[in-house]
């Protein structure tokens, strides 16, 4: 009998303790953000960029630079490169390191003096050489982000 009383008191106490706090409070549903769409990389400072591109991958880089907001002109040979550099003003010229003579020759004759962003083959002797001459060098394997970053730094340095 005593055991039963003790058990009943114990059960009642537990129930009392539990029920003391069982308020019905809370939300039945939570809104977890909303769908975010991928946004292509954008250029915070759009600039005029001349791109020397002949292969599909080079043309793809040029297209991505344009989609990012830059004003891009594509040339496919040395003659076009020289002509466009003389005729128009660019902030940055993206061209293979092997075209340095063409670029440098034109840069000396034009007023805008665009920065040159040399493109090299990854791991090539040109890459090591270019790195000793330029602060910013990109490789043909680089993602477009590398190009955008390098161009952005040039534009920032120019105070564009």
């Amino acid at each position: 009998m005593r055991k039963s009383i003790v058990a009943a008191v114990l059960a009642a106490s537990i129930l009392l303790v539990v029920s003391e706090y069982t308020l019905a409070c809370g939300e039945s549903m939570f809104r977890v953000g909303k769908g975010v769409h991928y946004r292509a990389f954008s250029a915070p400072i759009p600039g005029a960029v001349l791109v020397y591109a002949r292969t599909d991958s080079e043309l793809a880089v040029a297209e991505n630079l344009r989609l990012a907001g830059h004003q891009v002109l594509v040339v496919a040979n040395d003659a076009e490169l020289a002509t466009e550099m003389r005729n128009q003003e660019f902030n940055v010229v993206v061209a293979p390191y092997s075209k340095r003579e063409v670029v440098e020759a034109q840069s000396a004759q034009i007023a805008s003096h665009p920065d040159w962003l040399p493109v090299v083959e990854k791991g090539s002797p040109d890459q090591r050489l270019a790195l000793t001459q330029f602060d910013r060098v990109v490789t043909t394997d680089d993602d477009v982000r590398k190009y955008l970053k390098a161009i952005h730094k040039s534009l920032k340095a120019q105070g564009t």
Binding site: T22, L23, G26, F30, V32, F41
Partner: protein
């Protein structure tokens, strides 16, 4: 956008809900309406629909269905977390968004919620003084289902760059006079008006993005007690590809209202007790992770899982997970 496929989807959705209600469904069938809507969604895939965008082009929009499952075993008394048994919630949320202009977007939604409480803290209307037999007793250990509150919202794309800034307003109106007394109550049955701003930042040259949302909600007062509250939500996400992203998020709410300690057991028979679900502050911080996947040009599948890490006078979510499918047009 063609109206007929949308109406067809809605008919599927509500027919399934009706089916669930009539058949006093088991847990698994809560997903049935979502399944039917998902099956009906391809009907929307007409060739003349516009290409998907981020909802900021006039005429674009989305239809989404979200299933959420929440398990609660503890209640925070403002002093400590105590075991209360189990509150299990299934919710199904249907939402439409539509861009009226390139900057102005409307949204409308309605959750259907099924909830069950098993534990010692049953809220029995017959224990009130005087007893209220007209109030349904919902903490009987069975699932109870209700449509909750209509949600009508408007947002405005104020600034696009460098940060997307979107002020918004949302009105929540109870869909009907559903019960609010009980651990199984699907909501507070109160009008709410929320104003806030949503900020999204895509990092330049990066696949990271950040979102922050803050808002203030005005809530209809009960017995002169205000439960107006602030919400602060944050999210950091990363795009693995242009179709797959993952995120870490925080959802929080801090508000006015009665503290849980204001209702000692001896007081639990009066009107204040009957209304306590409407007058208690429910402050919490939830955190979790989620992922989004565009498995098709127009369809996005999302999932998330979360838990409560801090709370005051609120049910502590042990685990809450959800899945949603969105069709953009």
């Amino acid at each position: 956008m063609r109206i007929r496929p949308v109406l067809r989807s809605l008919v599927f959705y509500f027919a399934s809900l009706k089916c669930c209600l009539k058949s006093r469904v088991r847990i698994g069938t809560a997903q049935l309406p979502m399944l039917s809507l998902v099956l009906a969604l391809p009907a929307l895939a007409d060739n003349d629909l516009q290409s998907p965008d981020d909802g900021h082009t006039a005429g674009s929009g989305s239809i989404s269905v979200t299933y959420q499952n929440i398990v609660v075993n503890e209640f925070n008394t403002s002093v400590s977390d105590v075991d209360i048994g189990e509150v299990l919630t299934h919710s199904l949320y249907l939402e439409f968004t539509y861009a009226l202009t390139d900057r102005l977007q409307l949204s409308a939604g309605l959750p259907y919620i099924k909830k069950r409480y098993n534990g010692a803290g049953r809220h029995d209307p017959l224990t009130l003084v005087p007893p209220r037999p007209e109030v349904p007793f919902i903490d009987d250990g069975n699932f109870h289902s209700e449509f909750q509150d209509y949600s009508l919202g408007v947002s405005y794309l104020w600034i696009r760059d460098p940060v997307i800034v979107e002020p918004f307003a949302r009105l929540e109106i109870p869909s009907h006079d559903y019960p609010h007394f009980g651990n199984s109550a699907v909501g507070q049955n109160l009008w709410k008006a929320e104003i806030g701003v949503d900020l999204t930042k895509f990092m330049p040259f990066s696949d990271w993005y950040y979102r922050a949302e803050t808002s203030f909600t005005f809530v209809e007062e009960t017995l002169g007690v205000s439960v107006n509250h602030f919400r602060f939500n944050g999210e950091a996400g990363y795009f693995f590809t242009d179709a797959v992203s993952a995120k870490w998020f925080v959802l929080s709410k801090f508000g006015k209202g009665d503290d849980a300690t204001a209702f000692p057991p001896s007081s639990r028979t009066d009107e204040r007790w009957y209304q306590h679900d409407r007058t208690t502050r429910h402050s919490y911080v939830n955190t979790g992770v989620g992922a989004d996947w565009f498995f098709n040009e127009n369809y996005q599948l999302s999932g998330s899982v979360m838990t409560t890490v801090w709370g005051k006078s609120v049910h502590m979510v042990d685990i809450g997970w959800g899945m949603s499918i969105t069709r953009y047009f």
